[in-house]
């Protein structure tokens, strides 16, 4: 229901109901009475994209991936509009939809996220070829790979986070999977070799035909345009399959902006205030591209957490507290089958790390548990940590990064950062022993202290 008041109120329109758009809407509502409309062509209600895999695997139903009950939106006066925006007329502040209806905005937030990369492979649009990003991709997968009778084999192209998740999904239904990875080791553009190799092994333990340094040449089909096989670039080998998953990264989903006055490159160009070149138009989340990268971040950050931060930030600006996007210390997480991964600060792979960056690494002799700490060779300043199979406290590392603590300090107080469930084995002693041996230091592990931990909060 629209009250007269609302008609005179500033109308904030958000295109995209992912984490960025919804976070922006929630915070605008928190701070103001403005009229808010969220537009989505994908689904009426917000759901967690990262949880789509669990629906296919049977851990959850779609409704469980929706963080808010359906009454939430009406109660908070956030209007939900289902539709596909085809054009934006910024001079009249008007949106045109695919059904030829229009909508007028006062301020516009573009939060349309990403779409899977396609690199012009022959056959990339055939039936049975899909990404794993949208809700519709999941429906497609359910159609083409309901079980291992319909889908005798699936080929996944692209070794990143979505690729390995798709592999895990398919394996949950015992579908044979061939996993084509361009790099010589899984995700080794991001992960140090120790960790990348551990994940390689883990992938194989899950009975996946992992092909490293392997590229896709083309996808072949039957007379009905349905996938039948793929051809490998390097060897010319043909692999019969019923599904091809394209998971070679994502790219901003901004095709509908081409004819508008909004400046775009690979993404919608924004300044630190997340403003585009057109007044009253903002872009946040995966689809936004910073003119200049912030710190060591990429210009386009297609990560859940950064989308959420941008949503919070733009909401402040729109409700009168103009804020720059200031994302603080980098953090991220993922799960590779059974191995959890968290990272705080910057750890670059051997391929990408700078001259001054060095590693201290520790790996459990039998279990899939390891850490890599990156530090400055000269000053020993702690730069970041990758942790596999051990959970670590975000706040503690955030504090250490802000305080520019040293490698030795981090090792000494590592127990404060442990976030594993109670009764889990602790590895601080092992880790300290290793660094003492390697570097000839005499570090003694400090016991976990609530006092230190809670000074932080």
């Amino acid at each position: 229901m629209q009250t007269t008041n609302q008609l005179f109120m500033e109308h904030i329109v958000i295109i995209g109901n992912g984490i960025s758009g919804v976070t922006a809407a929630r915070h605008i509502r928190k701070n103001s009475d403005k009229r808010i409309t969220i537009i989505s062509a994908e689904s009426k209600y917000f759901f967690s994209r990262t949880a789509l895999m669990y629906i296919y695997m049977g851990h959850m139903k779609f409704e469980h991936t929706q963080p808010y009950e359906n009454w939430f939106w009406k109660k908070n006066r956030i209007e939900l509009k289902q539709g596909f925006v085809t054009k934006i007329d910024t001079s009249n502040k008007s949106l045109l939809f695919s059904d030829d209806t229009t909508l007028i905005y006062d301020k516009l937030i573009i939060a349309t996220g990403s779409k899977p990369n396609k690199f012009g492979w022959p056959g990339q649009d055939l039936e049975g070829v899909m990404g794993m990003y949208h809700k519709q991709d999941l429906e497609n997968l359910e159609k083409f790979a309901p079980d291992n009778n319909v889908c005798k084999r699936a080929v996944i192209v692209g070794g990143g986070l979505i690729g390995i998740e798709l592999a895990e999904m398919l394996r949950s239904r015992d579908i044979p999977v061939t996993f084509l990875v361009r790099e010589s080791s899984f995700w080794n553009g991001v992960l140090p070799a120790q960790e990348s190799e551990m994940i390689n092994q883990h992938i194989k333990e899950h009975h996946i035909d992992l092909r490293l340094s392997t590229n896709l040449k083309e996808i072949k089909s039957d007379e009905n345009g349905k996938v039948t096989s793929v051809i490998i670039e390097e060897t010319g080998e043909e692999i019969a399959c019923d599904v091809v998953g394209l998971t070679a990264g994502v790219t901003p989903n901004i095709d509908f902006l081409k004819e508008s006055k909004i400046e775009t490159k690979r993404g919608v160009l924004v300044n630190r205030f997340l403003e585009t070149n057109v007044k009253d138009v903002y872009a946040i989340g995966d689809c936004a591209k910073q003119h200049e990268a912030i710190g060591q971040r990429r210009n386009i950050e297609a990560v859940w957490y950064t989308g959420r931060m941008m949503g919070e930030t733009v909401a402040q600006t729109i409700t009168g507290n103009k804020r720059a996007y200031n994302p603080g210390h980098w953090f991220n997480s993922a799960k590779f089958f059974d191995i959890e991964y968290q990272t705080y600060g910057w750890v670059f792979s051997e391929r990408n790390k700078k001259e001054n960056e060095a590693y201290f690494q520790w790996k459990h002799t039998t279990k899939n548990i390891c850490i890599t700490i990156s530090y400055d060779k000269n000053s020993h300043q702690f730069l970041g940590i990758n942790t596999f199979g051990i959970r670590m406290r975000h706040e503690v590392f955030d504090k250490w990064l802000t305080e520019n603590q040293s490698l030795e300090y981090v090792i000494e107080y590592l127990a404060d950062a442990n976030f594993d469930p109670e009764f889990y084995s602790l590895y601080e002693a092992d880790i300290v022993a290793k660094i003492n041996k390697e570097k000839g230091t005499d570090i003694k592990s400090k016991k976990k202290s609530w006092k230190r931990i809670f000074k932080i909060a």
């Binding site: 967690s48 959850m60 963080p67 009950e69 968290q342 976030f419 109670e422 931990i453």
Partner: protein, 539 residues
């Protein structure tokens, strides 16, 4: 491996079928001499019951249902006869004669009276072959279930969270199998609570074990206790396999098994064999709602030193030990480490934990219901104690007997048993603990307002996937807190630790820490930008 698994399932179902069918076997009847002895033992003065029972069961070979029916009729006929006489003398105002009739009346629930006589009247294969029958029921059930469960060590793959296909399987996704299990469980509880005579054959199967433990024959409650322990043990094995990567779950499962088998089952049985009142030392009032009932107080005060010790222990447990432990560890120390109801929920109920309702409305209902039951149990106890000490039969207009019977029936039998466990497959495994248990309500109040326990949210790492909320057996929308960076401090949390286990990003940790900073109702660290955080938190 799959063959072993399904062979196991078949064996289990055979065991279950024989167990269920065993009700129908054997015959029931007494010789005149046996009946006379029984009536003398029971001190029934009614002539009518003698005649009626003689007619009904002497030298007969009835099945249990016929037997139950004729026996209940006999008691009814006898009681009706004297009721009529009472009415007659009442009308005639012949008070003396009227008063004389009461001694002939036989009190007790019809099925209970019938159960007692049935227990002494059974003949046939079950009574004579209890060992064999034990093997064909419990034995096959245990072997079959273990064969079904053990291959999971390999079938589930490498250690880790394995929730594949839970929502694609009829048994765990409210399908036909789930409903069949519900019907079976509900019927089981109805019969156990309200028609124990129908399952008297089950008691014969366990008579030898009961005699070894406590010196006497098995009652229906012994059957229930034994079955309870067996199911928890077998399903505990399932927990050990499913969560073998998670030490918290392993330790916690061991703890509930220990407390159920040793404290709830063995110790009371052994105490009984030593002529002491059988007592479960961990069963705290008001979950143990009849602790302050007259009969219990009487029995305890008449049992010498051990009785007085139990009385003092039971009171201290509720008033001192429970709240202090909740302060240090949260209510989990009781609800998911010690409690028998919790123990069953965490073993047999684990496959159904995802069915708890996470809606805001369910939370509202929960708060009304559970606190209402707490008040109900307290009012009942106050009335009972007042009447006990004052010798009256009612207090503030409430009849002691009425309120006790009502509570036992509505809460003790229906809520805790029939609904609490029977509805596992559809409404989840903690229906009783969440909506009904008065002890949980009490622990919850302590946990919410004075405790060091919380589930810490790990900064901004939550991706709102929803695994935590889905698998919370208490219906807490864990994600609602985690995605805002808030710690979870909720009275209903039983600290099972599954939210933390299923989280794919290492966001949740159950821990006991200082009270300061335990509740952080502020948006923290999401933006990770100190200035923005301050701004967001400014109201």
């Amino acid at each position: 491996m799959k063959t072993i698994k399904y062979t196991g399932l078949a064996i289990f179902l055979i065991g279950l079928t024989i167990f269920t069918a065993s009700i129908f076997l054997g015959s029931f009847g007494m010789s005149q001499k046996e009946l006379d002895t029984y009536i003398a033992e029971k001190n029934y003065k009614s002539e009518i019951i003698k005649q009626e029972l003689s007619k009904a069961i002497v030298d007969k070979e009835l099945n249990i249902f016929e037997f139950s029916s004729v026996v209940r009729d006999a008691f009814k006929t006898s009681n009706n006869y004297y009721d009529k006489l009472i009415a007659k003398y009442n009308a005639e105002k012949n008070w003396k004669k009227k008063g004389e009739q009461y001694k002939y009346k036989i009190f007790g629930k019809p099925h209970t009276l019938s159960y007692e006589i049935a227990k002494k009247s059974g003949k046939g294969i079950i009574k004579e072959n209890s060992g064999l029958l034990w093997f064909l029921t419990f034995g096959l059930g245990i072997i079959g279930a273990l064969l079904f469960i053990l291959p999971n060590v390999i079938l589930l793959g490498k250690p880790g969270i394995k929730n594949d296909h839970i929502y694609q399987n009829s048994a765990t996704n409210r399908g036909l199998i789930a409903w069949l299990v519900l019907v079976y469980l509900v019927l089981f509880y109805l019969v156990l609570y309200f028609m124990p005579d129908y399952v008297v054959n089950w008691t014969y199967i366990l008579d030898p074990i009961s005699k070894t433990l406590n010196g006497g024959p098995a009652s229906q409650w012994f059957v229930y206790g034994f079955l309870y322990c067996t199911i928890m043990l077998v399903m505990g094995v399932r927990m050990y396999i499913k969560y073998r990567h998670n030490k918290y779950q392993i330790v916690r499962t061991t703890s509930v098994l220990f407390f159920q088998i040793v404290f709830a089952f063995l110790i009371p049985e052994i105490m009984t064999s030593l002529n002491m009142p059988g007592y479960d030392f961990k069963n705290a009032f008001p979950l143990d709602y009849d602790f302050f009932f007259e009969w219990n107080l009487k029995s305890l005060t008449e049992s010498g030193a051990i009785g007085i010790f139990i009385l003092v222990w039971g009171t201290l447990l509720t008033l001192v030990i429970v709240p202090i432990m909740v302060y240090f560890f949260g209510k989990r120390w009781y609800c998911s480490w010690v409690c028998g109801c919790g123990g069953l929920a965490e073993t047999l109920g684990d496959p159904y934990r995802q069915h708890s309702n996470k809606s805001l409305n369910a939370w509202k209902l929960e708060r009304w219901l559970i606190h209402a039951v707490l008040v109900f149990s307290l009012v009942m106890t106050i009335v009972t104690l007042y009447c006990y000490f004052s010798g009256t039969s009612s207090f503030i207009g409430i009849k002691s007997q009425w309120i006790k019977d009502t509570y036992s029936f509505l809460i003790g039998a229906w809520f805790a048993g029939v609904i609490g466990t029977g509805f596992y497959p559809i409404f989840g495994n903690r229906v009783w603990c969440r909506f009904g248990c008065p002890l949980a309500a009490y622990l919850g109040l302590v946990q919410r307002f004075k405790s060091r326990f919380r589930i810490t949210t790990n900064g901004g790492q939550c991706i709102s996937c929803g695994n935590c909320s889905t698998y919370c057996e208490q219906g807490i929308d864990v994600r609602a807190y985690a995605q805002k960076g808030e710690n979870i401090v909720r009275s209903s949390c039983v600290g099972c630790g599954i939210c933390s286990a299923v989280c794919p990003r290492g966001v949740l940790k159950l821990e006991n820490g200082p009270e300061a900073g335990r509740i952080n109702p502020t948006e923290i660290l999401l933006g990770n930008d100190v200035d923005l955080m301050q701004l967001v938190n400014k109201k």
